[in-house]
Every structure is written in C-alpha cells, then in structure tokens.
C-alpha cells in the first residue's frame, strides 16, 4: 500500500495540484461528453416527435 492515510493519498506527495488537476479535467470532460450526447439524442427525438405531430395536424 502506497498511502498511510486518505490525507496522504490526496496530498499526492506534494503534487496534488498536478495529479488531481489532470485527473479532474479528464474525468470531468469525458463525463461531460457523454451527458452532451444524451442531451443531443433527446433533443433530436423531441424535434422529430414535434415534426410528426405537426404533420398530422396539417393532414386533419
């Protein structure tokens, strides 16, 4: 085991800024990409549903 305590773990031997600065941005941006993709899919589906109901109303 590399770490005596959690405090020791988060301190990263004095390199906390660099190590957590890299990991935080990597994990944050990868998660953000997935969220944006889910939102993009939802907005397309919503738009297509709206178009379909508009087309049906136009027929009636």
């Amino acid at each position: 085991m590399n770490w005596a305590s959690w405090r020791d773990f988060f301190a990263m031997g004095g390199y906390a800024l660099y190590v957590w600065g890299s990991y935080g941005v990597v994990i944050g941006l990868l998660a953000m990409e997935i969220v944006l993709l889910i939102l993009r899919k939802r907005s397309i589906l919503r738009e297509l549903l709206r178009e379909r109901s508009a087309a049906r109303q136009a027929l009636q």
Binding site: F9, G13, Y15, V19, Y23, V25, E33, I38, L48
Partner: protein, 263 residues
C-alpha cells in the same frame, strides 16, 4: 480494360457491395439499432477497465524513484495521447472508405469520431502540461512532440469546422475526407518526433522493439487505462453516430417507423 465512366463505376461499386456481406452494415438503417445494442456493453467495459486501471495506478503501482507521485499522470496522459492518434487514423480510414465506395455510413462514422478524437488530443496536451510543470519546470515548450500534437488538435478542429461550413452532408463528407487523409501525415510525425528531433519530451516508454522501461505494475495499469479509453471512445462514437444518423435520415421512412415506436 473498359473505360471508366460514371455508369460502370457505379456498377463495380455495386458488385463490390454485393460481394461483401459486411457491407450490409454500411446502411445507416441497419447500423442504427446494432450501434444502440452495442453502446451499453462498451460503456460497462470502459467503466470496469477504468476502475481496475485507476486501482492499479494509485494503489498497486509504486512511487517513482525520480518523479515521486507526479508520474501518476502517466496513467491518463499516455492512453489519451495514444487515443488521440489512433482515433485520427480510424477517422481518416472511414473518410477514405466513404470517398472510395461512396457509402453514406462511412462519412457519418468519420464525423462521429472527430469530437472524441479532439477531446483526447486536448486531454493529452492538458495532462502533459500539468506533468511538464513539476518535472521540466515549464507548462509548455515548442518542441517537436508537443507542437505536432497541437497540430493534431487543429486538424481535428479544421475537420469539424469544414464539415460544419458545408450544408450538403455528402459534400461535407467528401471535403472532410480530403482534409482527414492529408492530415494523416502528421501521425508518424508525432509518433517518431522524439526520435527524429532532440525533444524535451522523453522517448517512448513502451515500444515493440525493446522491453518496456517501466515497472511491471506501472505498465499493466497504463495498458488497462488504454483499454478503458478505447472502450469509452467506441461507446461515445457509437452514441454520436446514432445522433448523426437520425439527423441526416430524418425524412426517410425507416426513421418515421422508428419514431412510431418512441413513446
């Protein structure tokens, strides 16, 4: 040898399409549900590999004798840098396939890969910068490795911007393909830059020719993170290609049929 005319070019393309059964999946309509089924599996695999890789990287791999704990950036820096180059090659491959066989899905695959590739390029530069500061004493240096990786980011941006600027998606695919294929030249430049030029960036830690210059647990952790990023990239690109398919095929009958099943 018959003359190549637009008519018989179309014929040999159709013959090729008939010949290979895997061309079946070059239809967006058949690929859309397949991609939808694959996404959760790749996402789960990415999460499992990431948990295993981070555990190895932080709790099993020992402290580096020279760099202390700062070296632990390697577990995301190297996989991100590899993915940035690998995704570019795959993107250029699909763009080239689209240009050659005129298959719609190939161009959509290329467009779907570009943002994920650009993201990994940025992450490689970002984590590299945060690694450079404590080890080299500088956030950035214009050496061959860093500069060529920055050019890769601009190639991705150029590809995305060029496609966004052209209204007709099929023409956007063709223009993008020419840019993507031209830019492939940059990939060997990035990879071999540390050998061809005297760079501040260190040489390859892992190569096919020589034994890795790393402790076994460090190497294993890094390779597991490569697998995690790989699975992530596949999941994200499949999610994006599904969006692109829906956007581009919105007026087709199969999308109307698919939408009748939604809600």
């Amino acid at each position: 040898m018959p003359y190549v005319t637009p008519e018989n070019t179309a014929t040999w393309q159709h013959q090729l399409v008939d010949h290979f059964s895997w061309f079946k999946y070059s239809s967006p309509q058949t690929f859309f549900p397949l991609a939808g089924k694959l996404v959760p599996w790749f996402a789960i695999a990415a999460l499992l590999f990431a948990v295993a890789g981070l555990y190895l990287g932080f709790f099993v791999a020992p402290t580096d004798s020279q760099q202390g704990e700062a070296y632990r950036i390697i577990f995301i820096h190297v996989p991100a840098a590899w993915m940035s180059m690998f995704i570019y090659v795959v993107m250029a491959f699909w763009a080239g396939v689209g240009l050659t066989f005129n298959t719609r899905l190939s161009g959509m695959m290329a467009s779907a890969l570009a943002p994920t590739g650009a993201l990994f390029t940025f992450l490689a530069l970002w984590s590299g910068s945060l690694w450079g500061k404590p080890t080299w004493g500088t956030w950035w240096v214009w050496d061959a490795r860093l500069t060529s990786e920055l050019i890769l980011l601009f190639l991705y941006f150029g590809f995305i911007a060029l496609q966004a600027a052209i209204d007709d998606p099929r023409r956007a695919d063709k223009a993008g393909a020419v840019l993507a294929l031209t830019g492939v030249i940059n990939i060997p430049i990035i990879y071999f830059s540390v050998q061809w030029w005297n760079t501040l960036h260190q040489g390859a830690s892992v190569s096919l020719k020589s034994a890795p210059t790393m402790v076994a647990t460090m190497l294993t952790g890094m390779l597991v993170m490569v697998l995690a990023f790989w699975m992530y990239s596949i999941a994200a690109s499949l999610m994006r290609v599904r969006c692109i398919i829906l956007e581009r095929e919105r007026d087709s009958q199969w999308v109307a049929d698919y939408m009748s099943g939604v809600k």
